[in-house]
């Protein structure tokens, strides 16, 4: 499963996420293409993981 981080960029919620929010999802290729083209979401760099598990 290829989880990608997205930010909701449009004025309307996307998959229950409000504008401005980021979320992780494994979107269908076509769904991702349409959503990015219409300006609903954009890919964002993944947040840096907290790897201080010592």
């Amino acid at each position: 499963m290829a989880v990608t981080t997205y930010k909701v960029t449009g004025p309307t919620p996307f998959q229950g996420h409000k504008p401005g929010e980021t979320f992780d999802a494994d979107l269908d290729e076509n769904a991702e293409r349409r959503a990015i083209a219409r300006g609903s979401i954009k890919k964002t760099p993944k947040k840096k993981e907290d790897d201080s598990d010592a």
Binding site: R34, A35, R38, G39, S40
Partner: protein, 143 residues
């Protein structure tokens, strides 16, 4: 759920929440009435339920901003895309037995926005089912 005034409906097309851009929703599910009548003493007709046709008609406000109605619907129509659609009576609570959510994959075969001088820009879009699963009322939220 008691009687209600439709105010808080949720309408999502291709995962975009277009609730604020919609003001009416109508789901239709119809089985063909197939005549299987034979000769009989009363002359009554006999029918069986045949093929099922389902659709959802939404009245949208015309809006042309990024990620709004036109930007969502027109590519779906132009490119003959199959997309998910969801409608439930109350957007403030998740899908449940008392707030069932209609879900299914649909196509938009006709797209016809327009405008009349001095009037609110609205138009209807009818989504028809695009696969054998059809449109089904679900009572649990999506994961």
């Amino acid at each position: 759920m008691p009687k209600r005034i439709a105010l808080k409906d949720s309408v999502e097309v291709d995962s975009v929440d277009l609730s604020d851009f919609a003001r009416s929703v109508r789901f239709t599910s119809e089985h063909d009435q197939v005549d299987v009548s034979g000769f009989n003493p009363t002359g009554s007709n006999e029918f069986l339920a045949g093929q099922t046709t389902q659709s959802v008609t939404v009245e949208f406000f015309g809006s042309y901003g990024t990620g709004e109605v036109h930007a969502t619907l027109y590519p779906i129509h132009k490119d003959r895309e199959v997309v998910p659609l969801a409608w439930r009576p109350d957007q403030t609570t998740p899908a449940s037995a008392t707030n069932p959510e209609l879900r299914g994959n649909v196509q938009l075969l006709q797209y016809g926005p327009g405008g009349t001088r001095g009037e609110v820009d609205t138009f209807e879009a009818t989504f028809i089912t695009a696969d054998a699963a059809g449109l089904v009322f679900e009572t649990t939220p999506l994961p």
